[in-house]
């Protein structure tokens, strides 16, 4: 077994997912500890060029028509083959709809240890995981053998996983993928909304704290007065109070506005990871222990039902 750190790169329809760069950054932090190299593992079809900005020591690339789009069965089999042959010190997967679909099966199949929800790697090969909605952190040692890790965003910046030159690429012979029991029929685009919230400089976001569909009008009026747009966290969209085009979070959009006003949002990781790119986050939540206050630059525990109308009124007065 070598001391290399492998990274299970994720890409979707030709574009590398941001988590891949975060994983590469984390992999370097771990490689420093183990003394090995960072290898990006890429599966796809004619996808070599996506590795052009990877901060990795090498790329191992597997080309196969059945790997063009993510298929849990095909990807798992391929990854099992690579791990079994090269026996790295650790493999980092994204804690995502891609990584999480295969890492558990790989752990069971090869009998390898698995640590999930890891956020950062600290000196002494210590893995710090984030659980219970971000309220609890757990520290574990890097397990012996080939350790499987799933990584959540937040501990490293994507820029740390990028480099100006593409790393050397080796083509790996694909596994026999055999008859697959899973197949992809098609992708369905999200219902097109009137606006693209990822392009808005000012977002007024509502969460569970808004309590009823009707109260969303408070946020809409403020947004209108200020020239911004309304978006929401998952509970609001799940209820059907706003369309999925307005969803900000793990399964929705990642946004980087100038100002993100979070109203009645607790700041759980699935939402938090999608807003950390904002310039300024301002949070309104009556719970002083809400995790959002660790992300926000400014915060208040004032009651949103009092504060928002006051704010709207004052904005209107200023704008005349």
């Amino acid at each position: 077994m070598n001391q290399d750190i492998f990274v299970a790169i994720e890409h979707l329809r030709g574009k590398v997912s941001e988590i891949s760069y975060i994983m590469l950054a984390a992999a370097h932090a771990l490689a420093k500890e183990t003394g090995g190299q960072v290898a990006a593992i890429v599966f796809g079809q004619n996808a070599q060029s996506i590795t052009s900005d990877f901060n990795a020591d090498k790329v191992m690339y597997v080309d196969h028509p059945l790997l063009k789009d993510f298929n849990p069965e095909a990807y798992q089999k391929s990854m099992v083959g690579i791990i079994d042959e090269y026996k790295p010190r650790a493999v980092i997967f994204g804690h995502t709809t891609v990584g999480m679909d295969i890492v558990g099966g790989i752990s069971a199949h090869l009998g390898l240890p698995l640590v999930s929800s890891v956020r950062t790697i600290e000196a002494g090969s210590k893995l710090i995981s984030q659980i219970c909605g971000g309220k609890i952190m757990a520290e574990c040692d890097l397990p012996e053998g080939t350790a499987l890790i799933t990584l959540v965003p937040g501990g490293y910046k994507p820029e740390q996983g990028q480099a100006p030159q593409s790393p050397p690429l080796t083509s790996i012979t694909p596994q026999q993928l055999g008859d697959l029991r899973i197949s992809l029929n098609q992708y369905l685009e999200p219902e097109s909304g009137d606006i693209d919230i990822t392009k808005e400089p000012l977002l007024i976001a509502v969460g569970r704290g808004i309590q009823t569909q009707d109260n969303i009008s408070l946020a809409e009026e403020l947004a209108q007065a200020m020239g911004g747009e309304v978006c929401a966290s998952r509970p609001v969209v799940d209820q059907g109070w706003l369309p999925t085009s307005r969803l900000v979070g793990k399964s929705g959009a990642t946004v980087k506005p100038k100002v993100y006003l979070a109203i009645g949002i607790s700041g759980a990781p699935e939402h938090a990871e999608a807003i950390t790119g904002s310039d300024v986050i301002i949070a309104i939540n009556t719970d002083p222990a809400a995790p959002i206050f660790n992300l926000a630059k400014y915060g208040t525990t004032a009651d949103l039902f009092e504060l928002i109308p006051l704010l709207t009124e004052q904005v209107r007065n200023i704008k005349g």
């Binding site: 009823t212 569909q213 009707d214 109260n215």
Partner: protein, 400 residues
């Protein structure tokens, strides 16, 4: 054996109808004249596919399944206006409307807003979903400190059943604080249950969750039996109604008063303490569950008239004809649903009446009302200067 083409099993309407007879005075359903007064006086009757009168007609025609397919019965706010006005004295609210909601709930036909309030009540003992441990956080800063019976196991004269909204809702906590101030000023020996208190469950009962009501009542009953006190007072007419009229049917019986009754009894002791003048024209809104349902009209007015500087005026709908604020029967947790159907809120009608009568202050005595009326004030242009205050908040102000 002869077979018949017509099913021998009782139809849904029949079984439902017979279940209505089991409600107190339920046999009066047979005496409905179809006069239409109930549907007419119902604040949302104009919106319902089947207002109360038509529901009874549907039962008689064995077509109640049609009623069950609609969702407009959720517009009912359990205000008792129908039961009040019915010439045959049919228990429409408690019998028909509640029972229909129960059936809808059993069939899974329940608006999602209401669903979370019910689930929260079951899990956390309050419809807001707040941690039970924080139920007494409002007492912080009050001197002398409010006794929490679980911590300070001493006998008290009065057990004050605070209620969900005065405990947790930021606007209504001031009502709780005010009552604590007044009780302290009178030297009353009282205690609260704090984290051990569960929702009284009355509104949940009227929203169709009989099982949840019984569960909450049983829990409260067990807690009551641990402590020594002479009587219970409450800041919430819904809790008052539950404790007085419903809990005894489950074997939980204690003398209970609404705080207005308790303080009115002590008016001679209280009045001299009301030293600070409040110059205002005040109109009092009779809460459905204090007034119409339980006949308590005079005591709240006695308290208001004792405050120096106050001029008391009556709105056109008052006492038994009082207009519901819209919070009962689950209405508190169906705001979005009801707004979608009506685009009007009952609370707004009431605020307009207060404005019409020239009031500066709309006085209330139920915890649902301050937030509901204050929201309505914000949407009515002429109501900008109207303040909404619980009677006890005015008393606390007048103590100086």
């Amino acid at each position: 054996m002869a077979t018949t083409a017509i099913s021998q099993t009782p139809s849904f309407s029949e079984t439902f109808f017979s279940s209505l007879y089991k409600v107190e005075n339920g046999e009066r359903f047979r005496t409905c004249l179809q006069c239409g007064s109930c549907s007419g006086v119902c604040p949302f009757g104009y919106l319902m596919d089947y207002p109360p009168g038509r529901m009874i007609a549907g039962l008689r025609a064995d077509e109640f399944n049609l009623v069950m397919e609609t969702d407009t019965v959720w517009m009912c706010v359990s205000c008792y206006a129908c039961a009040q006005i019915c010439p045959s004295k049919i228990p429409i609210t408690a019998g028909l409307m509640t029972r229909t909601k129960e059936e809808l709930l059993l069939a899974g036909n329940v608006p999602s807003e209401l669903q979370s309030a019910l689930e929260n009540s079951q899990r956390y003992g309050n419809p807001m979903g707040e941690s039970p441990r924080k139920r007494a956080d409002w007492i912080l800063g009050i001197e002398p400190q409010v006794t929490i019976l679980g911590k300070d196991r001493r006998p008290v004269d009065i057990l004050w059943f605070v209620g969900d909204y005065p405990s947790y809702h930021t606007r209504v906590q001031s009502v709780a604080k005010s009552l604590a101030k007044v009780l302290n000023a009178l030297g009353v020996n009282f205690g609260i249950l704090g984290p051990e208190e569960n929702s009284d469950g009355d509104t949940q009962r009227l929203a169709g969750e009989r099982g949840l009501f019984e569960m909450l009542a049983e829990k409260n009953g067990k807690i009551f039996s641990r402590y020594q006190f002479d009587r219970i007072i409450t800041s919430d007419p819904h809790a008052y109604n539950a404790l007085k009229n419903e809990y005894p049917t489950l074997g939980i019986t204690y003398p209970v008063q609404h705080y207005t009754q308790f303080l009115a009894e002590r008016i001679d002791q209280l009045k001299p303490l009301l030293v600070k003048e409040i110059q205002a024209t005040v109109t009092y809104h009779d809460p459905c569950y204090l007034g119409r349902v339980n006949g308590i009209f005079t005591e709240p007015r006695i308290l208001l008239e004792a405050i120096p500087g106050i001029k008391l005026v009556e709105m056109s709908h008052n006492q038994t004809s009082s207009l519901c604020c819209g919070g009962g029967g689950g209405g508190m947790w169906l705001d979005g649903f009801q707004w979608e159907k009506a685009h009007a809120r009952l609370s707004e009608w009431r605020v307009r009446e207060a404005v019409d009568i020239g009031a500066n202050i709309l006085a209330v005595a139920c915890p649902y009302e301050p937030p509901r009326f204050e929201d309505a004030v914000k949407t009515i242009p002429q109501a900008e200067q109207l303040a909404v205050k619980d009677i006890v908040e005015l008393l606390a102000d007048a103590l100086g």
